[in-house]
Each structure stands twice: as structure tokens, then as C-alpha cells.
Symmetry: C2
Subunit: 143 residues, 2 copies
DNA sequence: ATATCATTTTACGTAAGCGTAAGGTATAGA
DNA sequence: TCTATACCTTACGCTTACGTAAAATGATAT
């Protein structure tokens, strides 16, 4: 059961991006250079697909720039790198540093999310009220 | 008690934008050409301040482009225009059209907000879990 | 009155995030 | 094998949303 690799065509269909975007993210180092066919066509594995989805969420829902996203990804990658390497006491200091950096990044993200959710809730209330009034008027109610 | 007019300096301090942004929004027709001093310096009234805050919210928290924001504002302005004009039965058809257009815009916005809030909630959970695990590791817990 | 700082218009510049065209190669289906 | 797409790299182009510089004028404090 070899992991399913996806062609560019499949990826763009699933994620709603263009090939150019995939190339660009690869150029920027946001995703690793992926596997290729004998002829040089790209094949995306599941891990990269998840990274892409992760990037697109950070971009779309948190409004992060690709630069900010790289900062996040770097912290995540560093943590992962240390997770899979040999766990010696020598690594330990480095590991705590990575964990701390990662935690700080995630805390920033959580703060951003909380702030956004709060603002969105306020806006929702405001717009819902305005919609209600407009619909009352449409229904012919005296207001 | 004449309404307080604000200078550019005050506006940029309050809203956290630059003078260029104010000029640009005026150029784009997002805000009306405001009052001037005898010498031509701009003075912003409260109504425009609120419009600006409105624009910045749509931009920052919904990620709307200035073009999309204009669509929203146009619907709002059209509604307001009809609200303050003479309410004849001749206006009535036009008025219902404006109300419908406005309602549709607001419904779109509400859908956007609900979608965003849902996605943010999901992301929050994911990141909170990851933060928890990182902090457990930092605390020396076996995981 | 004068120095200082804020603001004006005009207009070219810029960064991010891709779009797009060109010219050539791969892959898949009949 | 042939044909129709899909994909490759390279590289210049483009849009949005302002930034920034210049040269002149207005506002304000002393």
C-alpha cells in the first residue's frame, strides 16, 4: 500500500490553487521539493498535501503573509527535526529551545485566532441586526 | 455643539493608518471627499470616521479587497440615499430593489463570517492541542 | 513675524503573490 | 504509434494597496 501520490492536476482540483502557486510555494521553500516521475513531472505525497492545506488555512483564515507562514513552518519543522533525531542529553538543550520557540509561535497564533473570533462575533451581531431591519422593511412592517 | 472635525494627524493616530491611505480611499470613492479648511487641509467628520472604521473592519477581519468593500458600501449608500429621499409610491419599487440588494450583500457577509468563525474554531482546537503537547514535553512529562 | 511642523498635489516606485506566454518534453489513451 | 493533453522551466508582466519623494502652501506657537 504505497502512499498515493497526486499529480498537479489532482492537487489543483482538490485545493483550488493553480500550478503556479504550487511552484511558487516550492520556490519560497514553504513546501519541500517533491518527488518526480522519470520525466520530471511532480508527484505530491500526502504529507505535502497536508502542508499545503495548512499553509492555505493560515493564509486564508488568519490572513498570514507567506513570510509569516514561513516563520510558523520553520518552528514546526525544527521541532519535527528534533523529534525524529536521536534523543541524547546533548540534544536536550536544543530540544527545549525548539519547543519554546514553537510554543511561542503557537501562542501568537492562538491570540490571533481569539482576537479574530471576538471581532467577527461583534461584526456578526451588527450585520445581523441590520439585516433584520432591512427584512422588516421588506415585509412591510412599520419601523 | 458643532460636530467635532478631526485633522489628518488625529485620524491616523486613532485608526492606525497613514495619510496616503486616507487619500487613496477618497480617490477610490470609498469615502466621500471631506470638508476642508480655508487653506485646503482636510477635516474629517464623525460619519466619515465611522465609514473608515467600517472599511478597515471589512478589510482586516473579513479579508475583503477594496473592490469588494466598494460593492458593500454601494449597497449601503444606495439604501441610505433612498431612506432620506421623498417616500412616494414611485420610489417604492426602487426602494424594494435597494433593500433586496442590501439584504443579499449582508447575507453574503454573514455567510462569510460564519464560515470564518467555524474554521477558526477548528484551527483553535488543533493549535491548542499542539500547544498542550509541547508544554507537556517542556514540563518533562513522558508523552 | 518667523520658525517649525503639518498638509497639499502630483507622480513615480514598490512588494507580495501570483499570471501568463514561450518553447520544449511527458504521459495517457485510441 | 500517434494524438491530445498535461507538465516542465524560464522569465517577464500584472494588480492591489499603498510608499515615498518633491515642491509648494497652510497652520501654529513663540
Amino acid at each position: 500500500m504505497a502512499a498515493q501520490r497526486k499529480t498537479v492536476e489532482e492537487v489543483v482540483k482538490i485545493l483550488g490553487v493553480t500550478p503556479r502557486t504550487l511552484h511558487y510555494y516550492e520556490e519560497m521553500g514553504l513546501i519541500p521539493a517533491c518527488e518526480r516521475t522519470a520525466g520530471g513531472h511532480r508527484l505530491y505525497d500526502e504529507e505535502t498535501m497536508e502542508k499545503l492545506a495548512h499553509i492555505l488555512r493560515l493564509k486564508e483564515y488568519l490572513g498570514y503573509s507567506l513570510h509569516e507562514i514561513r516563520t510558523v513552518i520553520d518552528a514546526e519543522d525544527e521541532l519535527e527535526r528534533l523529534r525524529v533525531t536521536y534523543h541524547s542529553s546533548v540534544d536536550d538543550k536544543e530540544r527545549r529551545l525548539a519547543l519554546t520557540a514553537f510554543s511561542q509561535e503557537v501562542e501568537k497564533i492562538l491570540a490571533t485566532i481569539d482576537d479574530k473570533m471576538e471581532r467577527l462575533a461583534t461584526m456578526r451581531t451588527t450585520f445581523a441586526e441590520r439585516l433584520g431591519r432591512a427584512q422588516d422593511l421588506l415585509a412591510g412592517k412599520k419601523v
